[in-house]
Amino acid sequence: MKARRADGGWPWLFVLPTFLGVGVFYLWPLLKTLYDSFTETGPFGGSAWVGAENYTTLVADAEVYRAILNTVVYTAIVLLGIPLAVLFASLLNRPGLRGAMVYRTLFFLPYVALPTAISLVWRIIYNGEYGVLNQALKVIGVDGPSWITQPWFALVAVALLGLWMSIGFNMIVLSAGLKGIPGELYEAASLDGASRVQQFRAITVPLLTPSIFFLSVVTTIAGFQLFDQLFALLGPTNPVMPKTQSLVFLFYDAAFVGNDRGYAAAVAVLILAVVGLLTVFQFRFQRRWVSYD
C-alpha cells in the first residue's frame, strides 16, 4: 500500500501543468463570470452584489431577443456553407483534376487571413455608392442596395461573408472524410450502372455524415460567437447596428461601451447556456442521420 501511494503522487505532478492551465484560463474565468453576473460593477472595477437583477433586466430586454434572432439567422446562413462545401470538396477530389492544389489554396485563403482585414476589404466591396459589388450589378441592370446600412441586407451581408470565410475550412475537413471512402465502393457502384449523381447521393453523402456532423456543431458554436466581422464590416457607429447586433456584440456594448460589466457577464452566461443547449440537442439528434459504419 505504502509503495503504491508513493507512486501515486507522480502522475499528478505530470498533469499538474494541464490542471493549472485549465484552472487559470478556463475554470477561473468561468466562475468569475458567473459571480460577476450577480453584481453591479464600477467603470474601473469594484463591485456590489445585486442578486438576480441583471437576469431580470436581461429577460425584459427586447434587444436580447432581437440579438438572438439575428444570431440564429446568421448561423443558419453560414450552415448553408456546409452543403456547398460538400459539393465543392467532392468536385475537387475527383481523380485527375488539374490544378487541384491551386483551387484548394484559393478556397482556403480567406480562412487563413485575419477576419478584420477581410471585413475591411468587404466593407469597400459592399459600399452602396462606390462598391465593386454594386458596380457589377449595374452592368446587368440591377440597382444594388446600400448593403451595410439596411437592417436585413446588412445581416445577410455579414452572413455571406461568414459563409465565404468558412468554406475553406469545411472543405479541408470534408476532403479528409472523402479520402477515407474506399474506392472499391464507387467501382462496384459503377459496375452496377449507377450514375455519378447516384453515386454521390448513395455513397459520398452518407459516408461523409460524421464529417458533416462535426462541421455543423463547430459552425453553430462559431456562429453564436459572431462579433469581429459584424464589428469591422458595419462599424460600431452604424445606425443599423441596433437592429443587426449579435449576442456577443451586446456583450461588448454592455461591458466596454456602457461600462456595465455585471450585465455583460449575464449576457455571456446566456450565450454559454444557449450554445450548450444547442450542442446537446445536436448530439441527441445525430443518431437519426449520422452513420458511423
Binding site: 455608392e129 446600412t149 460600431p236 445606425p239
Partner: protein
C-alpha cells in the same frame, strides 16, 4: 475527492494570483522632475487617437529626447471609436499608458475614479503654469479643485467649402454673412448642378460637435445646463430641424450613408462642396487631392443673426499608476511647453493651446485658419460635458443622428431624448 480538492486549490491559487495584480501602484500625484535631465530614465507609452497628428507627435518625442536622452517614448495609436474603450479596459487592470490624450467628456469619469495623476507637483515645481492656457480649457480639465490635464490644443468649428465645385456649379461663392437659409439655397443649386455627377452639396457628417451642437447653440438653444438636458427646448429643436431638413432634401448624406463613407472623406476627395467641421482636419486637408481648391469661412448665422461654436480642446494627462512617474512627469511638462506647442503648430497638426503660439498654426496652411482662433475669442461656448458624458453621447449616436431626414419631426425626437438624458444625468453620482 482528491480531484475536487486539487481543483479547489487551483482556484484558490488563481484567486491569489489575481489579487496580487491589484492596486499596488504608488501615487504619482506629487511627482517632480529632477533638475538633471540625464537622471531621468525609463520607457513610456504615449497613447493618442489621431493618425493625422501622429507625425507631429513623433516630432515632439524627438524634441523631448534631445533634452532627455534616456527616456524611450513609444506612441500607441487607436482609432477614436476604440480609444476610450481601450483605456477603460486598461484602467480596470491598472495598465493605463503612462501619458495619454484626454478629452472633455471623459475627464471627470477618469479623474473621479482615481485613474489620473494630479498636476499639483508639476504646478508647484513651476514646470507647468496653468496661466499659459485659455481659462476655459484649464477648467475643462479640473475636477474637484485639482487640475488633471495640460491643455494640448483647442478647436472650434468653421465652414469649409470647395471653390472649384462652386465655380463648376456656377454658384456664387459664400460670404461670412451667410445665414442658414443661404446655406440651404446654395445646397439646392449645388445639388441640381453636381448631383448627377455623384457630388453632394454638403458633406456634413451630422456629428454633434461639428454640426448640431453649433446649430443648437447659434439658435439660442443648449445641450446641457445645470445638470438638465436641453434637447427638449424649442430653440434646440429648431437647430436639429435645420439638419434634418438638409438631409430630407437630399443635400446632406443620411447617417447611414455617413457610416459607409464619412463626410470628410467625400469632402476631401472632391465629392462634396461644403461642410461644417473643425480645425483638426487641417493636416488631412493639406494631404488631400483638392487641397488647392479649399477655403474656410465662419459658420453661417442662425435665423436670429447669431452664430456660436462649441470650443473643445484635448489635454495630455498621466496615469495615476505609472511605473515611471519621473519620466512621465518630465514628458508631460514638455508637452505643455511653448516649444512643444510651436512644433505642433508648424506641422499644422492642431491649433496649440499655449497662449500666443497660434501664429504658426494660422500660417501652416493657405486657408483662413484665423477663423478658428477668432471663433474661440468671439463666439464660442464651452463644450457640453457631465460626469458620465458617454452615456448620453450614446443616446445622441443611437437616436438623434439616425433621425435626421427621417419621418419623425425633431419636435418629437428632441423631447424624447431629453427625457432619457435627464434620467441618465439623474443616475450620475
Amino acid at each position: 475527492m482528491r480531484i475536487s480538492a486539487l481543483l479547489a486549490g487551483v482556484v484558490l491559487a488563481a484567486t491569489a494570483l489575481t489579487a496580487c495584480g491589484g492596486n499596488s501602484g504608488n501615487d504619482a500625484g506629487d511627482a517632480k522632475v529632477p533638475d538633471d535631465p540625464a537622471q531621468v530614465k525609463g520607457d513610456l507609452t504615449y497613447a493618442i487617437w489621431d493618425v493625422n497628428q501622429q507625425p507631429a507627435m513623433q516630432e515632439l518625442v524627438k524634441a523631448f529626447n534631445a533634452k532627455y536622452p534616456n527616456v524611450k517614448v513609444s506612441i500607441s495609436l487607436a482609432t477614436f471609436d476604440q480609444y476610450f474603450t481601450k483605456l477603460k479596459t486598461q484602467g480596470t487592470s491598472d495598465n493605463l499608458p503612462d501619458v495619454f490624450w484626454m478629452n472633455g467628456p471623459n475627464l471627470q469619469l477618469f479623474a473621479a475614479n482615481k485613474q489620473l495623476a494630479t498636476l499639483d507637483g508639476l504646478i508647484e515645481g513651476k514646470q507647468v503654469d496653468p496661466a499659459n492656457y485659455p481659462q476655459a480649457l484649464d477648467d475643462l480639465y479640473s475636477w474637484d479643485g485639482k487640475q488633471y490635464g495640460v491643455p494640448k490644443d483647442f478647436d472650434t468649428i468653421a465652414f469649409w467649402y470647395n471653390k472649384k465645385l462652386f465655380a463648376e456649379a456656377k454658384v456664387a461663392e459664400p460670404t461670412a454673412d451667410w445665414t442658414w437659409d443661404d446655406y440651404k439655397a446654395a445646397a439646392a443649386k449645388l445639388k441640381a448642378a453636381l448631383g448627377p455627377k455623384g457630388i453632394w452639396a454638403s458633406g456634413d457628417e451630422l456629428g454633434n460637435q461639428g454640426n448640431y451642437y453649433p446649430a443648437i447653440m447659434s439658435n439660442g438653444g443648449y445641450v446641457i445646463k445645470d445638470g438638465k438636458s436641453g434637447y427638449g427646448d424649442p430653440k434646440s429643436v429648431e437647430g436639429l430641424q435645420f439638419w434634418s431638413d438638409m438631409v430630407k432634401a437630399g443635400y446632406t448624406p443620411t447617417a447611414a450613408q455617413n457610416a459607409e463613407t464619412p463626410g470628410r472623406e467625400r469632402f476631401f476627395s472632391g465629392k462634396a462642396a461644403m461642410m461644417w467641421n473643425g480645425n483638426w482636419l487641417v493636416s488631412m486637408a493639406l494631404k488631400s487631392p483638392v487641397k488647392n481648391d479649399l477655403a474656410i469661412l465662419p459658420i453661417p448665422k442662425a435665423p436670429n443673426g447669431e452664430r456660436k461654436t462649441p470650443i473643445h480642446g484635448l489635454a495630455n494627462v498621466m496615469s495615476a499608476k505609472t511605473k515611471n512617474p519621473q519620466a512621465a512627469a518630465a514628458f508631460l511638462a514638455f508637452l505643455g511647453s511653448k516649444d512643444a506647442a510651436l512644433i505642433q503648430a508648424k506641422a499644422g497638426a492642431a491649433n496649440p493651446a499655449f497662449n500666443g503660439t497660434q501664429g504658426d498654426f494660422v500660417s501652416s496652411a493657405p486657408y483662413a485658419l484665423k477663423t478658428f482662433i477668432d471663433a474661440a475669442a468671439q463666439y464660442s461656448e464651452p463644450y457640453p460635458v457631465s460626469k458620465d458624458t458617454s452615456v448620453w453621447n450614446k443616446l445622441e449616436t443611437d437616436q438623434i443622428a439616425p433621425a435626421f431626414g427621417g419621418d419623425k419631426p425633431m419636435s418629437e425626437v428632441g423631447p424624447d431624448v431629453a427625457g432619457k438624458m435627464d434620467e441618465a444625468l439623474g443616475k450620475e453620482k
